[in-house]
Symmetry: C2
Subunit: 233 residues, 2 copies
């Protein structure tokens, strides 16, 4: 085939839906979120950011109007006024336009600042649900479109990064580092995987029910449940 994956693109730095990154490194655009006020901005960087935003904006528009599968990369590139080549330099796959975001650094940062004696779940309540609530206020519209796409397009649903174990590695490591736990402890993997999937499921159920309120509420519910409910369910 051709469907590339895991190569080494310039356009990304590796992050994802609601802060669960699939790390990558360097190049064209190193996305970071404004909420995490980053330093300066060279001309080149500004241009790259604009390009990335243009691609994403046009892509969402087309996805909304004619559907994800019905929109070709070529169309997106044309609408964003870049070449198809450039599109792929910014997003490794069409799916990544929807799945990628820039919140991971923020989450990691919050984890490093959290209480050193917190449990994994407690830490996540602060580092993931907190910013998510803010995010939903600030960019609700875009988030809603994303979530709806993720629910309705099978290929996106499956790749939802909240569900991708791999994406939780950095988060787990940050947690281990902060709390002094062994990063190689298999329980860390189990916990991250289990919780990630439960959160993902909570998000899906929120989207399926019409995207009312904040998904963070559902996620809170899911966290509470997996924290103590599995023994008796």
């Amino acid at each position: 085939m051709a469907r590339g994956r895991g190569r080494s693109w310039p356009g990304r730095d590796g992050c994802t839906t609601i802060g669960v990154m699939t790390s990558k490194a360097s190049a064209p655009d190193t996305p970071r979120h404004p909420m995490l006020d980053e330093p300066p901005l060279s001309l080149r960087e500004r241009k790259k950011r604009r390009t990335r935003e243009a691609i994403r904006r046009e892509a969402y528009r087309l996805f909304r109007d004619q559907g994800f599968d019905e929109t070709t990369v070529e169309e997106i590139a044309e609408a964003a006024e870049v070449s198809p080549s450039t599109f792929f330099r910014y997003f490794p796959t069409k799916e990544d336009v929807v799945l990628t975001d820039e919140y991971d650094p923020l989450i990691i940062k919050l984890m490093r600042e959290g209480p050193a004696d917190a449990t994994f779940i407690e830490m996540l309540r602060g580092a993931v649900l907190g910013p998510l609530r803010v995010l939903m206020e600030a960019e609700r519209e875009e988030m809603v479109i994303r979530m709806q796409l993720m629910v309705s397009v099978p290929s996106l649903r499956k790749r939802s990064q909240l569900q991708q174990t791999e994406g939780w590695r950095m988060l787990s490591e940050a947690f281990a580092e902060r709390t002094g736990k062994d990063p190689a402890d298999p329980r860390l993997r189990y916990a991250a995987a289990a919780i990630g999937s439960a959160l993902n499921e909570a998000m899906l159920s929120w989207a399926e029910d019409g995207c009312e309120g904040s998904p963070a509420d559902r996620m809170e519910e899911a966290l509470d449940f997996v924290e103590t409910g599995l023994r008796t369910f």
Copy 2:
């Protein structure tokens, strides 16, 4: 693009790695496992089964010899002496050759026969880990190859059905039915998703460590952990 997914193939009935199905329905081949001694076998059915087995066998051989990405569907089809068209009639995607199996009916059956007052996790210990141990004895070699592929090929790793929430729906429903619980209870979704991912992670860690013994041991460990350990971890 072309990468189809979720269409409506004739060749499958919907099942998956270690019994976590992505249901589908009807047609050419309705795979079932011998362990679940099914009734008769018409000439046509036997042929279909043979074809399916031939495809899988040749595919595994080629994957092992030259790698998953380096093997084209065309090569597999040729080795199995069928046309590429036929290949896709049996397996919706190349990945499914590795990800699909026929254990789901067995697991469902065991769940329906299990204790009606068991918790979800208890039920899984019996219905999933039990047969898995047997399976590992009976078809160890093939299972090991599958697992190794699933660990080493990124696209497979991500799609590992143990991780696919969707695949757990039927299992959840069987559980709800057996124990008289509400199948729409969101906690059922959370539980299935969380446990599925933890089990998947256990399997991966087993494969990464060289596939020694049975993955069921690791999975047992993971189940024990998510059952009670998340509150304090």
